[in-house]
Every structure is written in C-alpha cells, then in structure tokens.
Symmetry: C2
Subunit: 156 residues, 2 copies
C-alpha cells in the first residue's frame, strides 16, 4: 500500500506553532458532572505559551471550567487536527489591557461593546499535551508536546 | 448598524438537513467524571433520524458514552456551526450489515480491515436539540430542533 509517511517531529512541531499563531478560532470541550460534556466555538489568541479566549461569566463553559479545569480544544478540521489537552483558568476582563482583542472575541456572541457588558471573562488555556495529525497515515508520532514540554527530536 | 438578518426557520431547517446529509465528519464531545471532557473527530452517516459513527470499544469516547449518554457534536467550522445535543448508544459492528461504511469510518484511525479488528463498535447519536448559526448576526433563532422535534415556523 502506498502510504504517505508520517511527518517528522520537527516539521510537525513547526506546523503546530504556525497553526496556533495563524488561526483564531477553536472548539472548546468542557464538562460538568451533572450535565455532561459541552462544546462551543470561541475566538482565541496564542501568546507563545498559552491560549486566551473569552466568554460570559454565566455561560456553561465558564461554569464547567470552575468545576473541572481539565479541558480539550481542537483547532482545524477533522481532516487536519490540532488537539490540545489543557488546564483552564478564569480571569476578569478588567485585569487585561488589550480591549481590542476582547472586542474581536466578543463579536462571536454579541455586537455590543464588551466594556459595557458586565460578567465577560477571559479563559486562559495552558497546554499540557498537543497533538497534530492529518488522517491515519499521519497518526503515529502525532504528539508534539507532553506534560507541558515541546518534544525534541531524539535523532536531532 | 447594517446587520445581515438572521435566517428564517424554514431556510435554517433545510440548511441543517443538507449539512447532516452532505457532510461526513463531526467533532464529538463526551465526558467522564474522573477525566473530564474528551473531544475527537469521527466519520458519521445520517439516516434521516440519527447519526451513526464508529470507533474502538477501548477508546475514551466509548468508555465515556457508557457512563454518560449525553454528548454534544459539532459539524462545520466555528464560523458556520451545526451543533447537536444528543443521546448516545453503543451497538456492536456485528449487528450492522453495511461493512463498506464501517471501512470508511475505520480509515480515520487505522488502515486495517475493520472486520479483522475485534472491539470496533458503532455509536448511534439521537439528536435532542439541533442549532445552526453563522456568527453573531445569525445567533437569534438558531434552534431548529428541540426535545427531538424539528421546529415548525409559527407564521408558516
């Protein structure tokens, strides 16, 4: 069978970083004991070490994160997946300076000025594991970060 | 402000049905009490009333579904979302006749013949609520199915 070989780690790590930098939306999966899983699309920003997204204090996403900090986020399409297992923490918008970014995220759910809306909060996602794969041929070696550390090529 | 009006219910319901029929991949969010949310891309087939997907018996997805039947699935992109709250049930592949479909789904995670792999199971997703929206302007009136029933246009 003529298979496309899985990408080497260095190339895959670069692709993961590029995706984190250039994309602006993710799917965020959170969960609560009572109501089970929740999934929602959100804007995010990557600062080189964590992703920051924002939504309403009263949303199921924020309630879930307060009860269960483990979350899982996907960036891309089912054919070309960047999957992130992360720890989530909540921070008030008032603690952040960059209102322009807030406005961009906020546009996903409302056309109001975010500064006029009480209870809008940031969710910081600190990645613990990052995996990247394009279908089955690329599945082996898909992990580029483990325990919060970017993996190094053992042969490099 | 010049806003694109939200789509009427009839148009949106048609768009939801077309998306279900024409797309073949979804993001499936499941959860367990101990490990929190899980998210994975899967192939699916829509038969007019439910979605059927398939994966390994030993996967976190199947383990989660056995403990918590409530799941949430997304089809599309964060800019053009079809969101499905569903009840999931598990069925052995041996109970199903259509091996060609199994092979297609199976290709996502393996290049083996699915019939040679023990413990591959179907997950049926019975939608309880379906929502469809393209960004904020389209957010109002996004629900096209509630309590398992396709909504009718009250003015129709």
């Amino acid at each position: 069978m003529n298979q496309v070989p899985a990408r080497p780690l260095t190339e895959r790590r670069e692709a993961a970083l590029e995706r984190l930098r250039l994309n602006s939306t993710l799917w965020l999966a959170t969960a609560s004991h009572a109501r089970g899983p929740y999934l929602t699309p959100l804007f995010y920003r990557w600062d080189g070490s964590r992703l920051t997204t924002a939504t309403f204090e009263g949303s199921r996403t924020v309630k879930n994160v307060r009860g269960q900090a483990k979350v899982r986020a996907a960036i891309g399409s089912p054919d070309d997946v960047l999957m992130i297992d992360a720890r989530a923490t909540i921070a008030p918008v008032a603690d952040m300076a960059d209102i322009a970014e807030v406005a961009k995220w906020y546009a996903l759910v409302s056309d109001n000025d975010p500064q006029s809306v009480p209870g809008f909060v940031y969710i910081h996602l600190l990645p613990e594991r990052i995996q990247l794969w394009k279908g089955v041929a690329d599945f082996t070696g898909r992990t580029v970060m483990r325990a919060g550390v970017w993996l190094e090529d053992p042969t490099g």
